[in-house]
Amino acid sequence: MINIWIPIGIAIAIATWSFLIKESPLFRWAERTFISAAIGHTVVVGVYTLRDRYYPITVQGQYLLLIPAALGYLYLFVLWRRGRWVASYPIAITMGVGLATQVRGTIDADFLGQTLGLIREGGRIVGSPPQTAFTNALTIIVTLFSLSYFLFTVRPKGAFGSVYDGMYKLGQYCLLASLGAMAGNYILGTGLAVTMATIIRIIFSLQGYG
């Protein structure tokens, strides 16, 4: 028996790529199919997640959790312009917890972690093999110059001001080098890999592997 979803999937992929020839109702069909499928999937996951999240209420009898369960439905007021303020209540709770967690995690991992990493690299300049010492020294210089680019408050004046201006200009180039390398690494990345994956899946499907 033919699996009907295989030819439908292939048709969707080809309809999407028809955009390269011309934007057409065929492409819009594929686009709308994707959007509908994505939202439908989120809702299906949501229903099964409900079962998991309501488990403490339904099975373990933790009725206090009925409060956030009810508060969650206030989220839907976002869609009603005049009643939008009602959604502030559940948003306040998730924002409070989320922001607090993010702040502490960011300070610890991003700010302190990276600063300590920088200091440790500085400590490894002396006594290391020449290549390691050079790399560590270079990364420290590039980091400091790049950081000077993000100083948006008081601009130093006088003798240090001209040093800072030089650091700022070099920092610009350091950031460009860094972003350029990231971009160059990306060209192989997602686009080609996903295209190849789609083509391989089409071939596998036609060969009956599903």
């Binding site: 999937h41 488990y55 998730t94 991992a109 890999a193 190849m196």
Partner: protein, 284 residues
Amino acid sequence: MKKEEGASVSIWSKAQSVRAEWLWLVTLVLIIVPLAVPPHVPFTVNQSTLRIYEYVKKLPDGSVIVSGGSGQWAFIYETSAAFMAFLTQIKNKDVKLIIFPLSTDSLMFEPWAVKVTGFDKVKEYGKDWVVLNYVPGGADITLPAFMTNIRGLCRTDVYGRPLDELPIFKTVNSYKDITLWVDCGANSIPSLARYVAPYKVPILGFVHSAYYGMFQPYIAAGQVYEMTNGIRGGGEYEKLVGYTPWNLGTVTMDSYQLYSIYILALVIIANIGTQMLKKEEKKQ
């Protein structure tokens, strides 16, 4: 002489205004031809992929691995090559795998990867591997809770079975019981560095090539053990473990051979053309 100059200008100006459709047609041919006639281009294995391979090889028996990452299905394709090679490597090891999806697409992708690699055929569900349900709220809310009390955060698995009924959770409930965290979701490394790394759980990342450079500071700071570089890293990992049923990395490297030369040629032609047209404008 003037006619020749006029002809060379029109060549460059014609080259600058070539239609995109022709460029795309050549692209399509260049990526499909290696599929039909695979050249099996050789490429070396990077130090970073080798380190990951060696680390996983040395995992002690009874290790508990958590595979947790977020991402969209299409984007995860890029990291799927490395993830499936990883699953192939641990398939025959005495390890336990807990899949903790951080997005609705990871919830579908990781079990699918398990089936494609045949991991589920050699491991018993509930005892050796389990798929937890998706917990809404984002990594900021779920990860810290997961690390301290897994059963407090997740009540059932994806089949609706309570975690207390699953043998794997008789000995696993917090960061103390986790040996390794693997991110196959491509861009969850910052969240893992913030909420998993402080508990000294080693993290391996199979990341997008776009994020490989961006997440290097986490490796330098010792928060992440190592990462693979997008699809190239996937191809290298596949090479190390041998054939995987997916083999996307190896196939993509074949196509990239011609694709990359083509892009480089286009950039060179575009830049030379720009300079030539500038010169002509100055002369005029």
